[in-house]
Assembly symmetry: D2
Homo-oligomer: 194 residues x 4
């Protein structure tokens, strides 16, 4: 079944991501998150959904989180941090927002597949999450062609998006431990109207 | 031009709304808004857009506002208030949410055309904003038929939605005065990324 | 009551808007809307809420409408139109989007207070909706100062946003007439889950 | 590192999910998706983000997809399908929506951890995606207590949400194959403004 191929590709990428976690970057990320007055998250398309999934859990942990583009998101200021999620690190609206955040004195964390991208260049900290890089994509394409199979099992940013989501859910596990928060504490903050 | 007929119908409804404002209800509403720990707003469809427009200005005024259904909206608790906007006052999700809010000890303000509706029945305070009521609708329909005109100029909830938006923007003007907030103060809270 | 002052300022702006409607621009706008394969709407902040309110009614009228930034919005192409709503006409994301739309062969309609703005410069058609212009703002401010009143009754883009919403609801009335759509037809397209 | 524990728990759940895929349910799901006039997706909270991520890819594949609660979502009718995502299968708004969809003649697919839930009871097809079930949760809790560790590594619906996202991305891979769609085809449908 093709679905099983796709899922195994996704799991494979997650395993690689888990192995490559750099403890210093992790500690730095958590330090930034826990010392910020407000955490702003930003992504477009499916990366925006990943950003929201993370922000919701931050809120459950009583961290002040805001999603750029939602209704009640205030101005960003010194002491705040922008978590900008972009696989390519080149989305112009996001690069622009990172630049605005810096000018206003806020920190920027880039979550991207490309540590050499414009977004990463602007960031105080870059968390590199490999999706299928362009080169992998080309290799995959050649392999698929040789097999007479023209279809990617994980099109566009799929691998990056899922790996970023899982990484950020791992960050939530770290924060729960450090803040001594139990599942019940999160449950108590959960929206009353779902 | 039909567009001019439509706009004049809208203005006419706004004028009626302005004349009918009840100072005690206004004061009560502002008292609830300013004493709440958190203000939650809720509406579906175009009423949901009105709710968001209001929440954004509350945030500009440094009132803790949340939109039910957006990402970072926490649980509602005692000391909070739910502003529930529904023309008919019968939308089941909203009536249900008002009921949950009450059970959890929060106050409820209904913004509706029907002070006898289920939603109003659950509310601590009802702000009545007339749209075209069902009876008006039928009268209009008969008039239009006699003129050979079958089209409403302000279909569905249009009059209610616009009048509710304008009323709530008037509440913002009241809050600015009471909190001694200037336009510049609001501007400073405005999202940095628009 | 301050709320009444605010509402009267809003009504006054609507009356001026209604008087200034230019029939040729109206006809041109409706021609573009009705001949487009797909209508994309775009705004940020409260202008984005106005854009959504318009798109919802277009959908009720069975026009293919999409909101830029929502989940299922596809690529824009030749034969489509982008309705870009920005009071200032200078919001960089929106000017950029208008420029992309043009490059891809789509038409652009600007809804703005500033017919000389960058956004208007890119547009095939500009619908000018006066809010409080900068100059009005300064005059208002001097008047308020002389009265010892430092507060605007309609801060930031309030007048533009409400007037744009009412104008676009007037366009809906025109479209209903031209397509011979009754309120009931719109009702049948209304979301089943509200 | 706790983050690694969390990621391994997530991978472990994905592996179990991949092994348990039932080919008849898969085929049935794809048959429903490809024969529907319109596909509506619905979820609340983080399940709603999963629903959106799926809808975006359906749109990339030129399937008519709509997200319940977004602006341009029309009425659901016979010939359409509602994909309702709820870990517990008990969220009242979702159970209610499923019931409305059935009454209106549409099909319902439940994506849930509980095949005996109210939502599954209403569905034409139930796709069971195990998260941490209540019983697992209690076992986990006892294990954690014995280790002196009170913290869940994957709180609330985390396992369900990620597994549902990955399953649905696997469905996209199946659909690409069946429709003979290449990554480039999806790219051409991708929003022009991101």
């Amino acid at each position: 079944m093709i679905i099983k191929e796709a899922i195994r590709d996704i799991i494979h990428n997650l395993e690689k991501m888990e192995r490559d976690i750099d403890e210093r970057i992790l500690d730095n990320f958590i330090e930034i998150l826990t010392s910020a007055a407000n955490v702003f998250v930003l992504g477009l398309g499916r990366s925006g959904l990943v950003a929201r999934a993370f922000a919701m859990r931050l809120m459950h942990l009583e961290i002040n989180a805001f999603v750029v583009g939602e209704t009640i998101t205030p101005a960003i200021n010194e002491g705040d941090v922008l978590i900008a999620i972009s696989g390519s690190g080149r989305t112009s609206y996001i690069v622009n927002a990172a630049s605005i955040a810096r000018e206003r004195g806020a920190k920027v964390v880039a979550v991207t597949s490309y540590p050499d991208s414009d977004l990463a260049g602007l960031a105080d900290l870059t968390v590199t999450i490999k999706g299928r890089t362009k080169i992998d994509g080309e290799k995959d394409y050649m392999k698929r062609q040789m097999r007479g199979n023209h279809h990617s099992r994980t099109p566009l940013g799929t691998l990056f998006e899922i790996s970023a989501l899982v990484f950020l859910d791992g960050i939530i596990a770290e924060l729960m431990e450090r803040f001594d928060k139990r599942e019940e504490d999160l449950h108590n903050r959960h929206s009353s109207f779902d």
